[in-house]
């Protein structure tokens, strides 16, 4: 499926082969295959109920897959637990924001550092120099990340008191705190106004520049088309098209999936 790829061939960071997922009799995903290259922004679109979030949940270990194969940086993922996935280097955000609502913004990000830090019970209880140094590093990194996503001045506010757009940014900062190689964002622009979307786009661009590969589910077609290097379209749990945004927009199968048969205008 690399017929229309504009980016020069790079090593693939995530390779999904024939993945399927059923819930009882409902086939949520079937024969889904794609491959994300190191350093690209990969879009995942499709009508409601197409299985985008299910695919996210399978990729991040929340649901076990029923069939197929997933390779992350060349190594197969055998239905690992979500925390293992995070440790391997895939971080995510949630469609319906799942911050630690009653904790401050900076605490949220500090929790994201958990997987990359070591202090155990004895370190905590004895307050060894190593533990104290680690604590300082955690806090410093958390503040840096808040700065990075542009909410440095809101560090001490409770997550739930942040504006919707800032909550989305905080979720990204928390995910980045786990030092991911692949960052999976589930509708990062949902509920954002036009200005916030422009800022989000700049943020995602700089994340990519800093060497993190991005996988994005997004409904805002303009954002997807402007931002993503390649796009995968899901419909009824199957991939119906993959390619560069411009080609996808003209793909009759995509138009049909979004608008039904008989329409000629592309989405967006």
């Amino acid at each position: 499926m690399s017929d229309a790829a504009p980016v020069p061939a790079a090593a693939s960071i995530l390779e999904v082969r024939g993945v399927g997922k059923r819930f009882g009799g409902l086939v949520a995903l079937s024969e889904v295959s794609f491959s994300i290259r190191e350093g690209e922004i990969y879009g995942l679109i499709g009508p409601n109920g197409a299985g985008k979030t299910t695919l996210f949940n399978v990729l991040t270990g929340i649901y076990p897959k029923d069939e197929g194969e997933i390779l992350f940086r060349g190594n197969p993922l055998r239905n690992p637990s979500p925390d293992r996935v995070a440790a391997l280097g895939i971080a995510r955000t949630f469609q319906n924001i799942r911050l630690f609502a009653n904790l401050s913004a900076v605490e949220n990000v500090m929790i994201g550092r958990h997987v990359r830090t070591r202090a155990g019970v004895f370190g905590a209880v004895l307050r060894t120099p190593a533990t104290r140094a680690e604590e300082r590093a955690i806090e410093k990194r958390a503040h840096e990340l808040l700065e990075y996503v542009g909410i440095a001045d809101r560090g001490n506010e409770l997550a739930k008191h942040l504006s919707y757009g800032d909550q989305r940014r905080l979720e990204i900062a928390r995910a980045l705190a786990t030092d991911p190689r692949l960052l999976a964002l589930d509708e990062p622009a949902a509920g954002m106004n036009a200005t916030e979307k422009v800022e989000l786009r700049a943020l995602l661009d700089s994340i990519r520049k800093d060497g993190v590969t991005l996988l994005i589910i997004e409904h805002d077609v303009r954002l997807v088309m402007g931002l993503c290097d390649r796009v995968l379209v899901l419909d009824y749990g199957r991939n119906i098209a993959e390619g560069v945004p411009r080609a996808i927009q003209k793909d009759p199968r995509v138009i049909e999936a979004y608008l039904g048969t008989g329409h000629a205008t592309p989405p967006g």
Binding site: D83, A91, L103, R174
Partner: protein, 354 residues
């Protein structure tokens, strides 16, 4: 006054509290040794509440069988320091063993309950507490391990630096009773337990527990191994219970399964909830209040009735629990997050404004 900006004020305050705590048993002894003994039990309950607070307050896992770990610690001490098996190990060896065995029981309870929450977790932990008690009651046959409902007697007291804590010591013209010596011992252990809890709370581990309590799925997605962290909470909480149990054994010199009934679990949970789940100082306050108030009522309800009505109308024991229950209900209505709520817990319980 903001104590953070006045470190001297903080130290002076701390020194005053220390002096008050050191002088306390002698003041109480004037009112009767019974009050020193009540204080000692209160300190044990502070430790128990702090242990339970790790599970309930920090990690957000309900545990209705917590007293089982107290029982385990108490029986380990009694079995290793009594004529029952004629083993008489020193306390400093047994207390850590008791903590370790209780820790093991904590993991034993934690493992099957990892996927449970709320009501289901409550039922399983409640069952666990009862199972431990029933075992203690019945493990007298075929091999007499626990001596059944008769319990274990003449348990060794704590001996430290040539002092036997069972007897009083003369210091000059002054007699320091065993109860007072135990008070200082318990106080020292309690301070240690409080420091351990404060440090645990403000650590990577404490944050992980907080994350699990707030949103378990998000915590997992952020790379927190929720299974290990929950087991750690159960294990840590249980160890504190085990240490408290060992000291209970030593102080009482006699234990039986009757000391470890469900009501005790509920009492400890009430201390945690009333004081303020998740806030260490709140939990300490809750334990102290719930230890003393029933005792104070025991001694005051009868005379007050005589004064007001000229005779005793309601049995003091009944009215004591009645007032106690009423206080709890009122408390929970007006301060649902506890007397000294943890900042985060308070927010969790507050009505959403959106």
């Amino acid at each position: 006054m903001d104590l953070r900006r006045h470190p001297q004020a903080r130290w002076i305050g701390l020194a005053l509290v220390a002096v008050a705590l050191l002088a306390l048993p002698f003041v109480l002894a004037m009112a009767g040794t019974a009050w020193v003994r009540i204080t000692n039990l209160a300190i044990l309950f502070v430790m128990l509440s702090l242990g339970l607070n790790i599970v309930v307050g920090f990690a957000g896992l309900l545990d209705l069988g917590y007293i089982a770990f107290y029982a385990v610690g108490a029986y380990v001490y009694a079995l290793l320091a009594s004529p029952h098996f004629n083993i008489h190990w020193p306390w400093w060896a047994i207390l850590p063993i008791g903590a370790a065995v209780a820790c093991l029981f904590g993991v034993l309870l934690g493992t099957p309950t990892l996927k449970l929450r709320g009501d289901y977790l409550a039922i399983v932990t409640l069952g666990f507490g009862e199972i431990v008690r029933i075992f203690l009651n019945n493990l007298s046959e075929p091999f007499n391990l626990t001596n059944g409902p008769k319990g274990l007697t003449t348990i060794d007291s704590i001996k430290f630096a040539g002092l036997d804590f069972a007897n009083s010591t003369r210091v000059g013209d002054f007699a320091v009773s065993g109860t007072i010596k135990y008070y200082y011992f318990l106080l020292a252990v309690m301070v240690l337990v409080i420091i351990l809890n404060l440090r645990l709370q403000n650590s990577r581990i404490g944050r992980a527990w907080e994350a699990i309590r707030e949103d378990e799925l998000a915590a997992r997605a952020m790379g927190i191994n929720t299974r290990n962290m929950k087991l750690l909470a159960f294990a840590m909480g249980a160890s504190f219970g085990g240490v408290a149990g060992g000291m209970f054994s030593a102080i009482q010199g006699f234990i039986s399964p009757e000391s470890f009934i469900l009501t005790e679990s509920v009492m400890v949970l009430a201390m945690v909830v009333l004081g303020g789940m998740g806030n260490i100082w709140g939990v300490v306050l809750g334990a102290v209040l719930l230890s003393f108030v029933p005792e104070i009522l025991r001694y005051t309800v009868e005379p007050v009735q005589r004064m007001v009505f000229g005779r005793s109308i309601i049995d003091p024991e009944v009215i004591r629990m009645l007032l106690f229950g009423l206080a709890m209900v009122v408390m929970m209505l007006f301060r649902p997050a506890g007397i000294l709520p943890s900042a985060v817990r308070k927010r969790e319980l507050a009505r959403p404004t959106e």
